[in-house]
Symmetry: D2
Subunit: 297 residues, 4 copies
């Protein structure tokens, strides 16, 4: 596998494509955003004028798009990739979209004779730049093995989550749980602080007790407790509130689809939406602490 | 320090007292429950006929009682311990009670010239038996140092949380956060399972991703994913739903006292109450998974 | 307008169709359920062997189906009603389905030259039998006027909610709000009762104060407070928990679609799902009171 | 009954006292706030320099204070009213406080030979000025009858809720339910609006359907739908967010006390706290609609 098309070179896609380029793949990129394309070419990538030009004659296509409808449009529309691409092209969709949508696209790809996986990522823009993303992959084991040489250049952990769409399922489950323990950690720290405890001391105790979770260990939401986390940089950088709200929306859709009860997940989704509506959509998602505190602080 | 009184030898107090006894302290115990006293004496402990008989001439008193009102009654009532005990007796309350109540008792003890700490524990009956409890201590550092030789015989981790009552604050913050990520983990596993994923595979992925938390690491709520956890023993043993609901009630009280917002903590408290009301109060708290699943399973 | 086809004669559709029949319309009915068809014909209605046979030569089609996919299939599938029906046939869909789905079906009907409205109902099987349903209608005013002579035979209140799909929007908004004040009323009554008040006295006070709402006025959830309501008949009859949970799911879908925050609506949906999962799906929706009470009662 | 002391003449107490004064009672007032006293005397009331001076020789005492601790201090402190007042003085506490606290004060008053009722009000400052308050009374029927001539001058509806403290129970139950259907109504209107409906049309439909509740009938939260309600006056006047948050806190306390589940009530309390923390504490409580909308509007 030598020639690759990378479709969607935004904040995540661009650094991922850079890593493939650096690893020696013959890469052509495309994005409907002229600005994104300019950033990518300025950084040394070769751009095409359309998706079909970019994918012409490649061994594999990697797509990284912002929502279900764009992925469906790219692959399934009349004259879309499934119509115009040779069947032996490996298809890898890294977008975070609804599990149902991923299943639908892959099912139609398989029916036409393609091999395709869903491979959403976690790790954020920092992980994309460092090539340390986590991939959660849905689809055939054998297809994952074909994709692995590419994925390994962009990420560190590669999980086979299950059949088509399972990558998306794992992703939304993870992010829902992340939102829940982040808000929970904020509540615990604020409750302790208002009752007289030092948030740093409390964080230490919780981390060594049964309250332990990723948010406290590597992403403490209380400013000044940990260095180099968004909370200590006025909640700049990191993973935006609006993106978390979007992922929680996907989790809710997946739950409605299968009639699942997610009481805390649903409340978390509403709290993130409210936080965004109050003007905090672009802050890091650990800024939800601010919502629980007096604004006069 | 040689002579110790241990007041309250129930499911937690009895094994704690046993560990002090084994370590060579001259221990006298008391409990208002005749049954609890019989169990303790059958296991080799020396029993008194009243709290005042048990505490007569001791160097330190350890109390382990089930609710704020019992602790207040023991220490503060007319003719209670603060009235009848020599001032140089070290007072250690290991009960889990309202922070406000602990502050009140300790404040009055200090005013009368005693040294006293609140030292609630986590780790459950298994930790009590193994002597591996975690102590969260509120009060003066110097008092904690005097108590340390006793605490070390009963536990492994000893945290100084802050001033009087801070041990209780740390405890309720921890257990609130624990309840939240336990329910969150159940929601994520059920959401994944209903969307076609193997809960074991999903647990593996979440543990190595940002969804990581104590519930998944050492206490997986899905039957069969981990060995020797309550979920794999039909939710027997462990930490009872009713005790978690009680601790969540204490967290809510502490939040109301200081006007703190705890949206997920409040929902968690209500879910545990509902789970208890539906007849599951004595099951382990990870059984909350069952509430999210069809009862016909 | 004389000849009518009525498609879907289940618990709601059958009594609605009976009322049209009694009013003198020349009615033909169809249902994919043989059992439902037998019940309808036993009650005097004329049955066809297929939807296309039933709709052959009619002036208007009324459909009453249980979910979005059935409505889409009936009208939009290849060879479906939009393909085979003369354009001058009035189309009235009384099913409760997703607003987005209703908009989609009506949009396609209009594009082909039909006139069509969505006209979901409230009032339950009792209202259907008595001809006192409330219709919430989406679509053109002029189309509603053509449908009015039929709707008036089945219902008492006919609201024009707005453009296509608005009937469904009004319906899901109403039922979400109903679920919220029903659960809220149950919480208030249980809180009062546990604090020593007579639920009947409390209900009287709330009804004449700012807590007033439909649930207390005509559907009191506490057994024995009102006569002839489901709570006084062991929660039999009425509006099933599972149907409320379904409608709350539609409300959640409509909210996700437009990024709306519905924190209480989301919690209500989860509580109804949990109540159903615990084996109460067929009870009346006011039985949610039981979930808030000790099961040992 | 002729001579009356009125203690606490703030925003509510002052207009209530004015109505007693206008009705011909010989009234003396007191307030720890010099400013409040000045306002009261400027409006023609006779002020005393202390509570004991005000209550000297009166037939009845009416108290209207902002929190449990003030009421307890007034009546129960050493040298407080229960110590210095003749036993035949009728005691009427109109404050909104914790049911438990009201029970405690009345119990001690009865033990000393007084007659006393708790009589919290609803209706806000407008109702206080117009003499149209609703009284929810706890205590003996016969005591209520003695108080009735006073209460009738200040209010329109007088409910006997039950024994001592029941007035407070009814009040917190009512306000919890009010908060729930207010937030629920906001959610329904926003959901409908975002899905294309006119909030005025939707309000009409909901009011005539099973979504009907007091918030929609007389206090519509959507600006412009009703005249002369706070939402149409930029949420000025009315019942403040902070007061609603306080009452919800009392409801939560009453629930914790008796181990009651109030999932929607708890979420409502947290939402009102968050709304207050974001700087909206003095707006009318119907402004919670704003929290659910984009702040950029």
């Amino acid at each position: 596998m030598k020639k690759i098309a990378f479709l969607g070179v935004g904040n995540m896609g661009n650094p991922m494509a850079q890593n493939l380029h650096k690893a020696g793949f013959d890469l052509t990129v495309f994005d409907v955003s002229t600005k994104a394309l300019e950033v990518a070419t300025a950084a040394g990538l070769k751009a095409a004028k359309s998706a079909s030009e970019a994918t012409n004659g490649v061994d594999a296509i990697v797509s990284m798009l912002p929502a279900s409808r764009f992925v469906e449009d790219l692959y399934l529309s009349e004259g879309g990739l499934l119509d115009v691409t040779p069947k032996n092209t490996l298809l890898i969709d890294c977008s975070t979209i609804a599990p149902k949508s991923a299943q639908n696209v892959i099912e139609k790809a398989l029916a036409k004779g393609f091999e395709m996986i869903d491979a959403p990522v976690s790790g954020g823009t920092a992980g994309a730049a460092a090539g340390t993303l986590t991939f959660m992959v849905g689809g055939e084991e054998s297809t994952l093995e074909k994709a692995r040489p590419l994925l390994e250049k962009m990420g560190k952990n590669i999980f086979h989550a299950g059949k088509a769409g399972a990558g998306q399922v794992a992703k939304v489950c993870n992010n829902m749980l992340l939102a829940i323990h982040m808000i929970g950690s904020c509540e615990a720290l604020e409750l302790g602080s208002q009752n007289g405890m030092d948030p740093k001391v409390l964080s230490e105790i919780l981390m060594q007790s049964s309250g332990r979770n990723w948010s406290l260990e590597v992403y403490n939401p209380w400013p000044g407790v940990q260095e180099n986390v968004p909370s200590s940089k006025e909640y700049q950088g990191g993973f935006a509130v609006d993106l978390m709200a979007k992922d929680l929306g996907l989790a809710m859709e997946a739950g409605l689809e299968k009639n699942v009860s997610t009481p805390l997940g649903a409340t978390a989704r509403n709290l993130y939406r409210i936080h965004s509506q109050n003007g905090n959509g672009r802050l890091d998602f650990s800024s939800v602490l601010k919502m629980l505190q007096e604004s006069s602080r």
